[in-house]
């Protein structure tokens, strides 16, 4: 079976587990909604302030949800030593990385859709270029999922993994947060022509971390 075939088997399995465990709907969505509503209260009822901070709030909710979703992707592997099963299976270990990143990406995109609706309703976010905004979220979420899936396996070997994982991931995804917020703001309020450079940064981030993941994941998974 090809690398892509193996990755799709793993992605499908992760998604089936998530859907059956109702983790995405049961945990991520309420969490993201709580973050958004809490920030909404913190900034007060002023529409102009909320308009300005809406892209940042949106990305903060997505970022924290990405941390939770990526950790969860490895929790299911550690419950009964399943990660060792994948290590000992004679498959391309890069497929595990790509499969997990793909599953987390799809989960987060579903979450983004729900959160976007919430932000439009709560903060009255208007969107000048919806396609560019969608592109920003797709590219940003792929980057978040790639970093989360790569460092999830690093944190898995640590006893204090719950604390170590966010400390490893959050500084690294700062470029995604910055570029994502700027691209979302420009796609919402214009000028749309300036979005492209930020989308380019997000795409470059994705290429770098997907490539690094494919190359080093097998080594990280080994003893």
């Amino acid at each position: 079976m090809t690398l892509v075939g193996q990755a799709s088997v793993i992605a499908r399995r992760d998604l089936v587990i998530e859907v059956r465990g109702r983790h995405a709907l049961g945990t991520l969505l309420p969490f993201a909604a709580t973050v958004l509503i809490s920030f909404g209260f913190a900034f007060g009822p002023g529409r102009d302030v909320l308009d300005r901070v809406a892209p940042g709030l949106l990305w903060m909710a997505v970022l924290f949800s990405a941390v939770i979703a990526s950790r969860r992707a490895y929790q299911v592997e550690s419950e009964d030593g399943a990660l060792e099963g994948l290590l000992l299976a004679p498959i391309d270990k890069a497929a595990v990385f790509l499969g997990k990143a793909a599953a987390v990406t799809l989960e987060l995109l579903a979450l983004v859709l729900a959160v976007l609706v919430l932000v439009v309703l709560l903060f009255d976010l208007s969107v000048e270029s919806p396609l560019l905004m969608v592109s920003a979220f797709v590219l940003g979420v792929v980057g978040l999922a790639a970093v989360g899936s790569l460092f999830g396996v690093v944190a898995e070997s640590a006893r204090t993994r719950e604390a170590i994982f966010p400390m490893l991931v959050l500084p690294l995804v700062a470029p995604v947060l910055i570029a994502g917020v700027r691209a979302t703001d420009l796609a919402a309020n214009g000028p749309a022509s300036e979005v492209w450079s930020w989308l380019g940064l997000l795409a470059a981030f994705d290429v770098v971390f997907l490539s690094v993941g494919v190359l080093v994941f097998g080594y990280l998974l080994e003893d």
């Binding site: 079976m1 193996q6 088997v9 793993i10 399995r13 089936v16 587990i17 059956r20 465990g21 299911v76 419950e79 009964d80 030593g81 399943a82 060792e84 099963g85 290590l87 000992l88 299976a89 004679p90 498959i91 080994e222 003893d223």
Partner: protein, 213 residues
């Protein structure tokens, strides 16, 4: 001359400063059954995990079926199955889905999954989620996975610990069948092993081989 099934030379494994294995030399012929005995902490599990390539030796080296432990891990993994009390199953998947997953990844025909579930008497519960299973049923699924993979070497780490009589019988049956089929077996256990297996007993203590007869 064919390569030995397992050949370990001066294998030492440290966990931090603590040695789990100390200069272990061990040779196991193809088709041979070996039982590892010894108290808890003797190094039996570490030895099995090194042969399975789940762990690397800190010092020393060796080969499995002629493949080098350090440089040809994937070749070894293709031919070995490690069965432990940790069943490595996904709780939200059914027994059949757990087996299908590995069958699809390894390009194994789907018919073998159904056949393996029949052999461990789990055909009726095949479409139930593993999280509803008892420890014995989970171990049966793990045994079925080993049957699906059809390995040349079967490594078993306390495979019957905590199992009820029915599940223990399934595991013991699989061990006897594997022995009769000429597979190489390495079993770490405190329990009695059927004498018809004709297993060689290797006794370990404090990370070293104490007796090999």
């Amino acid at each position: 001359m064919r390569d030995a099934a397992v050949e370990l030379r001066g294998v030492t494994r440290l966990f931090g400063p603590s040695p789990a294995l100390v200069r272990v030399d061990l040779s196991i012929e193809r088709g041979e059954a070996v039982v590892l005995r010894g108290p808890n902490g003797a190094g039996k599990s570490t030895l099995l995990r090194i042969v399975a390539t789940a762990l690397s030796p800190t010092y020393g080296g060796g080969s499995v079926l002629g493949f080098d432990l350090a440089t040809q891990r994937e070749e070894i993994r293709r031919r070995c199955e490690l069965l432990t009390h940790r069943t490595r199953l996904y709780e939200e998947l059914t027994a059949r889905e757990n087996l299908d997953l590995f069958a699809r990844l390894l390009g194994i025909p789907n018919a073998r999954v159904a056949e393996a579930l029949e052999r461990v008497a789990l055909a009726d519960a095949a479409d139930e989620r593993v999280r509803t299973f008892s420890a014995g049923m989970r171990q049966k699924v793990a045994v079925a996975r080993a049957i699906v993979r059809d390995p040349e070497i079967l490594l078993l780490d306390e495979p019957t610990t905590g199992l009820d009589d029915a599940a223990r019988h399934v595991v013991e049956r699989m061990i006897l069948d594997a022995g009769a089929e000429g597979r190489t077996l390495v079993i770490a256990t405190h329990h009695a092993i059927a004498p018809e297996l004709g297993a060689r007993v290797v006794t370990m203590r404090d990370g070293a081989v104490e007796a090999n007869a």
